[in-house]
Symmetry: C2
Subunit: 273 residues, 2 copies
DNA sequence: TTGGTAGTTCCATACTACGGAACCTTGTTC
DNA sequence: GAACAAGGTTCCGTAGTATGGAACTACCAA
């Protein structure tokens, strides 16, 4: 009886002519995705590859600075990742990754759409925007920073752990701004239950907004997506619909960023069956 | 006359059994290294690969979320990078990338060695440390944040554009702290010329330190490396030697992070000759 | 010493990645 | 608006690179 030198695979593996690259990419993603260093054995089981193949591919990745092994032989993202992250290019890239999602949400709701991220000092900054289709709508808010507690974006961030409410006085922006920490805590609980945050004239009279959190790999909240408009259009009757669109968009963006994406690549998914 | 189907290469290409992965890694690094999106053609010339091969490899990288193409077809780092950068894992990874360099510098000088990065509010935080070999030396400073203007790490950061001096009053920590902006500006010019910063009892009486900047890809300053000790040991006579060691270590770390590294991978370097 | 675990190297094999050419798409020039 | 150019993708037969099993090394524990 002869043993086949190559195991025949049941599932068709990528007919794209890039098997090795796909496999290496999967290994790299597996390393980049985890918060803690990953062991060689974990990578073998995660990828389903042969020891020798995994060893060879990882050596190639390491040689190129894409992964790094610590003293115990475990793998972490390499210098290329570290260097990229420190360079600060990620914010610009986040904006461009998000742009299509914002555009779609703007199309659906017709209102001003913003992507916000937490900043030091209890602020949230809008880093991308799609303008309202109406004549009355938001001006350009990109670069604008507002307190977390009176913005929908800010509430969404705090509620899901993407920002922390600073100590001290909570500024009373309008007569509807929530400045009691107890009331705010109750509201944040509601935000977590609903999945979205609302502000009704708490930041500026006549301004209503809803916002939902955006997650990256590993469930970390990196920002929030908001829909804002005048109180005359965003009435209590239409807020739920806008919020629903907003949450769906936030979820899409999260998936784009690798959150809860079951199998990112092409091959090996079938092998698990 | 027959045309060879495969072009014979003069230089031996990676005898490691990972040609495709190495090539893909080079393309990925080329994309991650640049601040601005890179075009397909630029990648072809940079890699020296055939159009078809480049197209296939880039498609594989894109499919796996490692690169992304914008509307004009140019390439940026993909969601995997964006997600990694936002997760904040880069700081821990920087510490572990830097650890061997710090250890070597500590071995050479015998003094306390620190890696510092800029924080909001005109502060510098020490994120990694190697302790002095002497009984009198620095305590554990990891996590400690001090004003930029009176720390060697801070001066090195400001001088090379890695941090900005905040407006307002410059705190007088000791009677030797430089609090005049004009005097500080002069000193920063000297730092740029020398390549390293010095503080002599400007942060705490009896404490002397030298520091040199650490660069990442593209010349961005991401942190600084310092050597600190008591004024009794770090006298004006030995400061230049310590500074020289410190600068060499900072340069090593910069190279590790991809700064000015002529050819990171294995192949293609030979093709340029 | 023996056994076990973790990972690397070797090797013949055969399948995957190769590059040239054809082809497609988009934008530009008369 | 036809012809051209530039940028990029798909196709294809071929060859040489990636493959996985086995042998091997290194380290640790009992």
């Amino acid at each position: 009886m002869e043993l086949p030198k190559y195991r025949k695979k049941a599932a068709v593996t990528s007919p794209t002519g890039t098997q090795a690259v796909d496999r290496a990419a999967q290994l790299l993603i597996e390393v980049a995705r985890h918060r803690d260093p990953v062991t060689f054995t974990e990578l073998i089981t995660a990828s389903g590859l042969a020891k020798s193949t995994t060893s060879r591919l990882l050596a190639a990745l390491e040689r190129n600075g894409l992964v790094r092994r610590d003293l115990t032989g475990r793998f972490s993202p390499g210098e290329v990742f570290v260097s990229y992250a420190w360079r600060g290019g990620a914010e610009a890239d986040l904006v461009s990754v998000a742009q299509p999602v914002l555009a779609a949400l703007g199309e659906e709701t017709g209102e001003t759409v913003n992507l916000g991220v937490a900043r030091d000092g209890g602020l949230v900054e809008q880093i991308a925007q799609v303008d309202s289709k109406y004549l009355i709508g938001g001006t350009n808010w990109v670069g604008l920073r507002v307190p977390l507690h009176c913005a929908a974006l800010g509430k969404a961030l705090i509620a899901f752990g993407g920002a922390e409410l600073p100590g001290g006085h909570l500024e009373q922006r309008t007569d509807r701004t929530v400045t009691s920490r107890a009331a705010l805590a109750d509201e944040l609980t509601a935000v977590r239950e609903r999945g979205y945050a609302v502000t009704v004239e708490e930041l500026e009279p006549g301004l209503v907004a809803v916002a939902a959190p955006v997650f990256a790999d590993g469930g970390i909240v990196i920002g929030a997506l908001s829909v804002s408009g005048p109180a005359s259009r965003l009435t209590t009757a239409v807020i739920p619909a806008a919020a629903s669109n907003c949450m769906a968009a936030a979820r899409s963006l999260s998936v784009l960023l690798g959150h809860d994406q079951p199998a990112r690549g092409v091959q090996h998914a079938a092998l698990a069956s």
